[in-house]
Symmetry: C2
Subunit: 358 residues, 2 copies
DNA sequence: GGGAAACTTGTTAACGTGCACATTCTAGCG
DNA sequence: CGCTAGAATGTGCACGTTAACAAGTTTCCC
């Protein structure tokens, strides 16, 4: 017997069960007849405990239904096991794929993801950020690239690795894993120009007030710049509705496309592009004969519709995985990594929604 | 000046800045010339602090870039501010909508969502559950209805409200907010029977090993039972692939449907149903003339395709909201609520994918 | 057989905050 | 002017765990 009651006054610190409360490590230790540190070692699988002792402890844990309290553990060890992830929205399967990829990479190392989403609102990002930091995550993953001054300051002051994903910012805060949305726009434009289209347009959301899709905006910038370079006016780039765009965005924008006699359009997202295809079907407008369409994101649905959607593909699950692996590199203390910028690249996937596709 | 160093030995407990560490509440209090409790009161907005003092504290907080440590706060107050949510997957927009609804309801009360997902794996559910409970959430939300014995035991022992969602289990663990998947299946079957179809089929995933879509299975049970009741053999209920099903499930299953000369089919999910529609388009099979289709979930894409998809609608965002509100009712201590079972209902949405629709 | 190394277990003191209670200050009143 | 109620602020400790170090035991080798 090792426990003693001499110093403690009258609380349950010596391992007596307390009604209405979850059992603690001390109660387990008492039941198993060991010190609480031995229990702690068994829990964390530190392999320093004799098999028989370990068995006794495991039995006590099972008998009491003991579940360790990670908040207490975090406080003592200064390691929370949290990785924070801030996304614009969860309702976008590509962002959800990022979350899946991240978890897949981090699961083995026993990290938990702490997910927040901003609904594309800048002020909400700041609020959520403070919230997340209060949970002391060991790394912060957020969608690049625009953050408020205050947000950037908080991130830097936090002292944890910061990884911007899904866009490669011109001035990364620290690390970044993503691709160039600007380049996405340029690629789409060049493709349509090379195919010989004349009236080339694009559709995106209009960014009003607090709700801004920075990455979509980057794609449009790249698209417009490439258009200008080929001597075409960028006046056929249409803004409509607000982020996040979905199928109905494409549906709503279709009459405008037709009215402006656009013959090839780049949509800020596959979802919008699919909406355009569907609305064209209903209006008897032939795709791609009368209207060619390029999307972005390579959403599953784009592969299934008729005609299948030409799009720009980014492997978001791999992006999440890569981010997770970067974090695992970064976290062991000591190794003061230089900022790492990983470009996961992008691929134009030619399918049938553009006239003259191979 | 209130601080004193008499009892403390040599650590930073009296509020001296410590290099490489985030500032603590005591450093703030020292800078502001107050006790740490006053700072704590200011942070938590308890309205017991004089305006000038409060201002001084706020300035100190800003100067130091102080962010409270919720892990420490959780330990002291025994309230973590976490609500745990366990889902099969995030890549399903309906489940994502539940998460959104939950956050919307809980945001104001300053709760954070702790999300885990199981990929439909039973063993993974148990693993994740233990993980989540170690974070001491104040309530646990999980998708009903099948849980392992061990899981159920852990949940009961946790002493927190448990809310099963998305299916109303026959034997709820405690509270439940959802709908009857069995009834979904029956409704679909009755609808197709009433429309006068003869060769009525259904498609779902086959549940092998550890990966099981219990809720989809319930829908199939209901469907089969209603079919039998009408004297039809349930042999046209096809199982194929594994959960989660998506568009390609429908694509893959279409040749089987045609081969079996099925003239009306209920798909376990809209995504599969959309896949069937698309594959029929490619094969020149007319929908609904040659094959009628009913889905489940009322996913956005189903409204956009041609023909638009008849489906069974459940308001998942509202489901999340309702769950959040239930939690807010449950959490104030004292009020020992009786188990609450909320049926959010379901609606059959008639669209053009079924022959003879209004 | 003696000593060091390796293994196993234990003791004590943080970790950063909130609760319960104590103390100080202020205003109001007879 | 002294007393009291209430507001404002402070003190001490507990929350449940892990780090750091200490101590006891066994093993191994010359």
């Amino acid at each position: 017997m090792t426990r003693s009651g001499k110093k403690r006054v009258d609380n349950g610190g010596d391992g007596r069960a307390r009604p209405g409360r979850r059992p603690t490590i001390r109660e387990v230790s008492r039941l198993a007849g060991v010190s609480h540190m031995t229990v702690s070692r068994v829990i964390r699988d530190l392999d320093l405990v004799q098999p028989e002792t370990r068995a006794r402890v495991h039995k006590a844990i099972a008998d009491l239904g003991y579940v360790p309290d990670r908040a207490a553990g975090s406080l003592a060890s200064r390691r929370t096991g949290f990785i924070a992830l801030m996304l614009p929205t969860l309702t976008n399967t590509n962002f959800a794929a990022v979350a899946h990829g991240l978890t897949d990479a981090l699961r083995l190392a026993d990290y938990d993801l702490l997910i927040a989403y901003t609904e594309y609102s800048v002020s909400e990002e700041e609020r959520q950020l403070k919230n997340l930091l209060a949970r002391r995550p060991e790394a912060m993953v957020l969608t690049g690239s625009m953050h408020s001054r205050a947000a950037a300051k908080m991130l830097l002051a936090s002292g944890i690795p910061v990884i911007e994903i899904a866009d490669l910012p011109r001035q990364p805060l620290e690390h970044a894993v993503g691709f160039s949305n600007y380049e996405v726009g340029r690629t789409a434009a060049r493709y349509l120009i090379d195919k010989g289209f004349e009236r080339i347009g694009a559709t995106a959301s209009s960014n009003e007030g607090d709700v801004i899709d920075h990455r979509g905006e980057e794609r449009m910038r790249g698209f417009e710049d490439e258009l200008k370079r080929s001597g075409r006016p960028p006046e056929l780039v249409l803004r409509h509705g607000h982020a996040p765009v979905s199928f109905d965005h494409g549906v709503a924008v279709t009459p405008l496309l037709l009215e402006k006699r656009i013959d090839a359009v780049f949509a800020v997202s596959d979802l919008s592009a699919v909406g355009i295809v569907m609305e064209c079907q209903r209006r008897g407008v032939a795709v791609p004969e009368q209207l060619s369409i390029v999307g972005f994101g390579d959403f599953e649905i784009g592969r299934e519709i008729n005609p299948a959607l030409t799009t720009i593909h980014v492997d978001f699950h791999a992006l999440g995985l890569r981010t997770g692996r970067l974090i695992l590199d970064l976290l062991p203390p000591g190794a003061a990594h230089a900022p790492e910028i990983v470009d996961v690249g992008l691929t134009l996937v030619e399918r049938a929604s553009v006239r003259g596709a191979k």
